[in-house]
């Protein structure tokens, strides 16, 4: 099987200027500016096979967007080797961009003032897609994403969810073998998220499309990706299965309780349970937090034990977010 993306020792540096203090410093800055060379992406290596769906995650500023921009040919790497779809993205940009689709959640790919279908029509010409290809492929895409009724509206009149579905359709006009999605579900409501996930799964199965996505939403990754590449400060800190990542680093689950009556921490600690539980009291929210490890069953055991002993007002099960996993890894180190 071919590799869609091959990255070795990829590096991108930015100059970061720092200013001196005071008026005197300002004048000195005029003559010579202090700058540091900051590696946004620091010698990373990975390969993605054709047909894989990979989540590329990390905190803000970890270098995700910079990597994506190098992979899509927007930025030129400072050093390192980069082959995407067998091409050098920046050097062979015009030929290369015919083989990829790009969706940036924060930025529209469509023309703001013109109707969605006009954008599609123009993109169809840009990517030299024939009428038959377009009708066959896009007819299906439009139906699945349910954007038929939106086609004659200008993009600026669409809601975020409507726009994102149109963006996704626009990125697929030329049916590219490789799709880059940067925060495709940011700010969307649950139903739209589900629809987009379903759709991505479907095109991956149908066309063996490789998908690389960045997201802050663990749900996206769980629904779509087997493989996770995690970045921190420009370096890859994890590359492997999502389950392994979650088992190792998201093992602790937090369950938040609020009680009707006053309860002591010692009473909670002496609850009869077969596993160890750490209790904390959050005074600000008057909430008791139980940190438990291990199997999911433990959650229901804990809850039933608590409910049978105390009157509760509220229970929340807290999902570990990607940020927390990253923080865990960062604090405790890999291994």
């Amino acid at each position: 099987m071919n590799n869609a993306i091959e990255v070795s020792q990829l590096r991108k540096e930015f100059k970061s200027y720092s200013s001196r203090t005071g008026l005197k410093g300002a004048f000195r800055d005029l003559l010579t500016r202090n700058y540091k060379i900051v590696p946004a992406v620091n010698d990373i290596n990975f390969t993605v096979k054709q047909g894989e769906m990979v989540a590329y995650i990390g905190e803000n500023g970890a270098g995700k967007s910079t990597t994506i921009k190098m992979l899509t040919g927007i930025l030129e790497p400072t050093s390192g080797k980069l082959r995407v779809n067998g091409m050098n993205p920046h050097r062979e940009r015009e030929k290369f961009t015919r083989t990829i689709g790009v969706v940036f959640g924060q930025r529209s790919q469509l023309w703001w003032d013109i109707a969605v279908q006009e954008s599609f029509r123009l993109l169809k010409k840009v990517y030299k897609v024939s009428d038959e290809q377009y009708n066959e492929h896009m007819g299906h895409v439009i139906k699945t994403l349910d954007i038929g009724p939106l086609l004659d509206k200008p993009v600026r009149k669409l809601s975020l969810g409507q726009r994102m579905r149109c963006e996704l359709a626009a990125a697929l006009i030329h049916n590219p073998p490789l799709l880059f999605l940067d925060e495709p579900t940011i700010g969307l409501d649950v139903l739209v998220k589900l629809k987009i996930r379903e759709f991505l799964k479907e095109i991956n199965e149908k066309y063996n499309t490789t998908i690389l996505l960045t997201t802050h939403d663990l749900g996206d990754i769980e629904a779509l990706c087997n493989r996770v590449v995690m970045l921190d400060e420009g370096k890859i800190v994890y590359d492997g299965e999502l389950d392994a990542l979650k088992n190792n680093w998201a093992e602790e689950k937090e369950i938040h309780f609020q009680f009707m009556n006053h309860v002591n921490l010692s009473e909670l600690n002496s609850l009869p349970l077969q596993f160890s539980t750490d209790w904390e009291y959050d005074e600000k929210n008057q909430t008791y937090i139980a940190n438990i490890k291990g199997e999911d069953e433990n959650i229901s055991q804990l809850i039933s034990a608590v409910v049978s002993h105390f009157k509760i007002k509220d229970v929340k099960i807290h999902e570990t977010s990607i940020e927390e996993i990253v923080r865990n890894i960062y604090e405790k180190g890999m291994n």
Binding site: F14, A40, S65, T66, K69, T72, G73, I74, L75, E76, H90, R93, E94, K95, F96, T97, R98, I100, V102, F104, R107, S108, Q109, W111, D113, I114, E118, L122, K125, V126, Y127, K128
Partner: protein, 261 residues
């Protein structure tokens, strides 16, 4: 060929959008027309009393001015990139441009074209014909072709300067006031260059070739033999500077840092 098709595709798209906002279109055309009239009145008032300006008659100056309007109109219709830095680099629109399979400068030009400015061609032609008739200029069969060639050459020279300046944005996204300044300097090209001192003349010929937009090509039609060499160099200068500008642009694209970094 692909680029020609794309040009017409974008153009029809542009027309569609424009026609949707009919009121805007009319207002813009009227203000454009007003602008041209004010400029013309200015010329008439200034040169109304002086019949000669270092060897150029009033009508000759009006002719140069009229000629200048034509490449300038071509330039402003297709190279409307004065806000490139803000629109494409600071706001990051360049990211989108760079993920499409068309040369990035060509895309920017297509997206930013403003065909209403072509109206200036008509104004220019009217002025040129008016001045030409009062000067009793004779027209050879090949003159219209040279006229078109020189106008395109001038537009390319003008565009080259602005493309080069827009490219600065790739290296530094700080706001600069170079663009408005260039528009001012560009206006010097519409007066005979020999009224300026030597340094400025050199500057307007070889560094910022604005003189090739107005006075040099117009000199040919006015029969000023001493300027013929410059007149005929117009298309060449246009192409050379334009190619240089594209080289600078391409180099700049490699330095593009993206927005939000």
């Amino acid at each position: 060929m692909f680029y020609v098709t794309m040009f017409f595709q974008y153009m029809s798209q542009y027309m569609k959008t424009r026609l949707e906002y009919r009121a805007d279109l009319v207002v813009e055309m009227i203000s454009d027309l007003l602008n041209q009239t004010v400029n013309l009145v200015f010329i008439l008032v200034v040169f109304g009393h002086t019949q000669f300006l270092s060897g150029w008659s009033r009508d000759e100056i009006i002719f140069i001015y009229g000629f200048f309007l034509i490449p300038f109109a071509l330039f402003s219709s297709f190279f409307n990139i004065w806000d490139f830095n803000e629109r494409y680099i600071v706001k990051g629109e360049m990211d989108r441009i760079l993920t499409r399979p068309i040369h990035s400068l060509f895309q920017v030009i297509l997206e930013r074209m403003e065909l209403e400015s072509l109206f200036g061609v008509v104004t220019g032609l009217v002025i040129v014909m008016y001045a030409g008739t009062s000067l009793n200029l004779s027209i050879n069969w090949y003159d219209p072709f040279l006229f078109i060639l020189f106008a395109i050459g001038g537009a390319l020279a003008y565009a080259a300067i602005f493309i080069a300046i827009a490219s600065i944005g790739f290296w530094s996204d700080a706001k600069t006031s170079i663009m408005p300044m260039m528009y001012n300097i560009g206006n010097y090209g519409r007066y005979p260059v020999d009224i300026y001192n030597k340094v400025i003349r050199f500057l307007l010929t070889w560094v910022l070739p604005f003189a090739f937009v107005g006075v040099y090509p117009a000199a040919y039609f006015l029969g000023k033999k001493e300027w013929y060499a410059f007149s005929f160099a117009t298309p060449l200068i246009g192409i050379i500077f334009f190619m240089l500008a594209i080289l600078i642009w391409n180099k700049g694209v490699r330095k593009y840092r993206g927005a939000g970094n």
